[in-house]
């Protein structure tokens, strides 16, 4: 059996989730639990954005589930008036995989952080992306361990002085977008916690995508890593550094769009002045390119130093999902052979004692 038989790629991410006719308000998505992040934490704005965004999907609220691991961001499900599970460190994608595979009528979201997803849960993250389970994974990246009070994380800057690295971290950080692409992710996006519009756009596309979607959210932790992304929030700096990715448009950025992205000599991508590159040589963004090399090259434009930081959707390709195919096999098997417990237990070779 091949997935194409099922016409799967034409199915949208939410197509099997029941909808509601009632207009919804963001208020309905707020649980009665008092939100307990530190004052000024970036998580607040993300929570707010998601609570405003979900009503626009028009899904039945009871068919939405948030599964999280452990960490500051993993408290997220408690604040959502949906179904939710605050699980154990790093394992949310595994738990969500079992849930999504058995329940196609649910919209399943994983909320995780840089420690949860990339350190202790790295294995589950890459494998759920590889399998392309219909999960939306929101990776709140604050480049620090918050809940355990300030140790360096797998996305912390090299040399960073933290509680556990008084002489500076000697670890090389991950680029989460590159990692996800290396794991065959079919949807990869990035947004800033403070950019409500940009984040909402990426979330909308992720929700509509059938398969795993990884959304990296740069999130400020004012307590242990304050200002990690400030250069992307200062208006002038942001203009020079942020590269907004818009499908079908040449990739341009900078004041008056006078910078752009072109192919580099060795086959990757590089940024430069449009006046030097030439308009015709600008790359037109296409997230649907099958070859991950393109999206990977985009992810390498921006490094840990945030000099250049593409945001938006890096990759969005259609491919069969694990859960659709697993369910199709169960269904196919049932159609091919009526379940008959008595016949199974008897088997082929029996003998009778009288």
């Amino acid at each position: 059996m091949t997935a194409t038989d099922l016409g799967l790629p034409t199915l949208g991410g939410l197509d099997l989730v029941p909808t509601s006719d009632e207009p919804q308000k963001s208020k309905e998505y707020k649980s009665d639990q008092e939100v307990r992040w530190c004052p000024g934490c970036g998580d607040y704005i993300v929570l707010n954005t998601i609570q405003s965004f979900l009503p626009t999907l028009g899904l039945r609220r009871e068919n939405i589930v948030f599964v999280s691991g452990i960490g500051c961001s993993s408290r997220f499900p408690y604040y959502m008036n949906t179904y939710g599970m605050h699980s154990i460190h790093g394992r949310a994608p595994a738990i969500a995989t079992g849930l999504a595979t058995t329940r196609p009528d649910l919209s399943v979201w994983v909320v995780t952080g840089d420690g949860d997803a990339l350190s202790i849960g790295g294995n589950h993250l890459i494998h759920s992306l590889r399998r392309n389970v219909n999960l939306k994974i929101l990776l709140f990246n604050n480049r620090i361990y918050g809940l355990t009070k300030g140790q360096y994380s797998p996305t912390s800057d090299q040399g960073m002085v933290t509680k556990s690295t008084p002489m500076g971290s000697v670890d090389t950080p991950f680029n989460p977008i590159s990692l996800a692409l290396g794991a065959e992710a079919s949807f990869v996006g990035r947004a800033l916690d403070s950019d409500k519009k940009g984040l909402t756009e990426v979330l909308g596309a992720a929700a509509a995508h059938r398969g795993s979607a990884l959304v990296e959210i740069y999130q400020n932790c004012p307590i242990f890593n304050d200002g990690a992304f400030d250069v992307l929030k200062d208006k002038d700096e942001a203009e020079r550094r942020l590269i907004p990715l818009k499908a079908g448009e040449p990739i341009r950025f900078g004041p008056d769009g006078d910078y752009g992205v072109t192919r580099s000599a060795w086959g990757g991508l590089e940024a430069g002045k449009v006046s030097e590159i030439g308009e015709d040589n600008l790359v037109v963004h296409d997230p649907t390119i099958e070859d991950t090399a393109y999206a990977f090259a985009l992810s390498r434009l921006g490094g840990q130093d945030l000099q250049q930081t593409p945001t938006g959707i890096f990759r969005q390709v259609s491919r069969p999902t694990y859960d659709d195919q697993a369910r199709a096999q169960v269904q196919q098997a049932a159609e091919a052979k009526t379940p008959d417990l008595h016949a199974l237990l008897r088997g082929k070779d029996t003998w009778t004692v009288t």
Binding site: M85, R91, L345
Partner: protein
């Protein structure tokens, strides 16, 4: 009817040469050879023939962990023991009456187990200088008098097989590989076994390779005709069918029975099943078997690791499916944290541990019962879980249903402790009527249940009888709630760090498990209460303990036997039962784990007998232990 030994006739095999027929009530045969010699298949086929004939039987496969251990060496020896009888037997047998040794290594590794006077059938073609010296034989044991205590049959199995296949065009090496079927044919002749099943099996197994099917059939027939035509086998043996309880039987291994039990649990509960698992010896066959039965609404998820396997199972349970994970001891270690999450979130989950020798990687293909305390205590915090264990291969079916019943009724992870001996062993199974299987249907929450009249749904409101919380699955309108690993407020289910609440919740979780409805343990004592010594076991040691008790009783000594299928909670009548005997002896394939629990719980100084050799107990060994115990108890009583 006669058929030429070299013919490829398809007429049924039937004996014509008159031999002396010896009628036996039981026989133990051990097929032993190199791990590449196909001994497991040979033993398995002989077992099927015995089953088809209606004998009671029990088997013990024993093979190296390496897929191909060095050829011709002792570590590379693979064996399969089958015990068949005309009455109900309990074990695969201590010592083989017949040893089939395909090479010197197989002879050397198994000879010590053969009783004096036993029969040894050797493939003399492998007894060359090189093979002999490989295993440290200075001289050929077939030539000197070291085997004089046994009845030795020297058969040139390789040569004879090659000869029989000479005209098939098969290469010499390929032809020689069929020698295991030659051995099977010979033994089938010796024991008057029905052969149609094996012939059908070979045709089906090699349906896509007709030349290989033909070669195996030829070898099988050649072995059979060899017995029929050579005078060196003067006696054949008959073991009459066993008088088992009426009904329809099949032969089944523990792992297959376990998989079928899970299928049945899904059917009887009406729930879809998700098996989240990771390959590990000796549990992988449960995955293999279940992956064949997707038509029963079973999803098998081979995860990236043990943790993801159980995570997916728990996620499926959260969504209203029956989540199951299967593994062995090392996998349980990895799954511990998720089992704890299952305890905290109070979701149904069945955790299958097919125990093997430990610690660490230990002895992957050997058996042990040393995960009991891991199952009981191997998690952080006060984290009680119910534990059940099957006592025979066929019991694996029932125990899977029982584990599911407990998981669904009490909303808890359940540890099911199988082990390598029951998992790979096989026996006849009285096929149950589907209608007689337990009804496992569940009710999901559908209404708000807040006890304060607020109209909310509180996830930790409990059934007063079972203390189980309601199972409210996503998709149910109005019951949106959040659960997780943090301590929950009793009833309402919000996060709570309140000291009194934590104290209460710890005790409620314990009370829920302690209160699980578990059947009383029954005692077998044919002496009608004269026994002063009780033999108590759990899990796969049921067979050897039972067989040992029979031997002791045959010698005129009374002994009572009881066996635990529920290890947590223990049966309610166990304390009184233990106190009713002068001595309670507890044999275990560990360092005394059940004994430790019994002493702690009942303050009874049970006598622990332990063995951790990677192999099941021998009935003979336990007979000695029990006899000594009874003698000592009598001495004490008369002092």
């Amino acid at each position: 009817m006669s058929t030429s030994p070299n013919g490829t006739g398809t007429e049924p095999l039937s004996a014509t040469r008159p031999t002396e027929i010896s009628r036996l009530d039981r026989v133990v045969i051990r097929f032993a050879g190199d791990s590449g010699d196909g001994m497991q298949l040979t033993g398995d086929r002989f077992t099927s023939e015995a089953a088809a004939f209606g004998n009671d039987l029990a088997t013990l496969p024993n093979f190296p962990a390496e897929i191909r251990a060095p050829q011709g060496t002792i570590p590379g020896v693979s064996s399969f023991q089958v015990h068949f009888a005309d009455y109900d037997i309990l074990t695969p047998g201590d010592r083989p009456d017949v040893l089939v040794a395909m090479n010197p290594a197989a002879l050397k590794a198994n000879l010590a187990d053969v009783p004096r006077g036993g029969t040894i059938i050797v493939n003399i073609d492998e007894f060359n200088k090189r093979n002999l010296s490989k295993v440290g034989y200075d001289s050929d044991p077939l030539e000197d008098d070291s085997l004089s205590a046994f009845e030795v049959h020297r058969v040139a199995m390789s040569t004879l097989t090659q000869g029989a296949l000479a005209e098939t065009g098969l290469g010499k090496k390929d032809a020689e590989r069929c020698k295991n079927m030659f051995a099977l044919g010979l033994l089938s002749w010796m024991y008057h076994r029905p052969t149609e099943g094996t012939e059908r099996f070979l045709q089906e197994k090699f349906a896509k390779k007709p030349d290989i099917a033909e070669a195996n059939l030829l070898a099988f027939r050649a072995g059979w005709y060899y017995g029929e035509t050579t005078e060196s086998f003067a006696t054949t043996f008959e073991v009459a069918p066993a008088k088992l309880a009426p009904g329809t039987y099949r032969q089944i291994t523990g792992n297959t029975a376990l998989a079928y039990g899970i299928v049945a649990a899904g059917q009887r509960s009406g729930l879809p099943i998700l098996l989240g698992t990771y390959p590990i010896t000796p549990a992988s066959d449960v995955l293999h078997e279940l992956s064949k039965h997707k038509n029963f609404g079973i999803t098998t998820f081979q995860a990236e690791d043990e943790i993801a396997g159980i995570g997916a199972a728990l996620g499926a349970s959260y969504g209203g499916a029956l989540g199951i994970t299967s593994t062995s001891g090392p996998g349980v270690a990895l799954k511990s944290e998720t089992i704890g999450l299952g305890v905290m979130t109070e979701l149904p989950l069945v955790v299958i541990d097919v125990q093997r020798g430990g610690p660490s990687t230990g002895l992957p293909t050997k058996t042990e019962q040393a995960d009991l305390l891991q199952a009981m205590f191997g998690r952080n915090g006060e984290s009680p879980v119910p534990i059940v264990a099957p006592c025979t291969p066929a019991d694996c079916f029932d125990i899977a249903l029982e584990a599911t019943r407990i998981a669904l009724t009490y909303r808890t992870p359940v540890l099911l402790l199988s082990d390598g001996a029951v998992a790979n062993g096989s026996e006849p199974w009285l096929i149950p009527d589907v209608e007689d299987l337990p009804d496992l249907r569940v009710t999901f929450a559908s209404e708000p249940n807040a006890t304060d009249g607020s109209g909310e749904f509180w996830p930790y409101v409990r059934d007063p009888e079972t203390l189980a919380r309601e199972w409210a699955v996503p998709g149910t309108p109005g019951l949106q709630h959040r659960i997780g690993g943090l301590e929950k407020q009793d009833g309402k289910g919000s996060i709570s760090y309140d000291p009194d609440n934590h104290e209460a919740m710890v005790r409620i979780r314990q009370a829920k498990i302690d209160g699980i409805d578990v059947p009383d343990v029954t005692v077998d004592d044919p002496s009608g209460g004269k026994a002063r010594v009780l033999a108590l076991g759990w899990g796969s040691s049921f067979g050897p303990i039972g067989a040992a008790c029979r031997r002791v009783r045959k010698n005129g000594l009374p002994i009572a036997q009881a066996h635990l299928r529920h290890l947590n909670p223990l049966p309610g009548n166990l304390g009184d039962l233990l106190r009713a005997y002068d001595t309670v002896v507890v044999p275990e394939m560990n360092m005394g784990q059940l004994a430790m629990l019994l002493r702690a719980k009942y303050l009874i100084d049970v006598q622990s007998y332990t063995k951790v050799a990677g192999l099941p107990f021998k009935a003979e060994e336990l007979e000695g232990v029990f006899t000594d115990t009874i003698t000592a108890a009598r001495k004490e009583a008369t002092l």
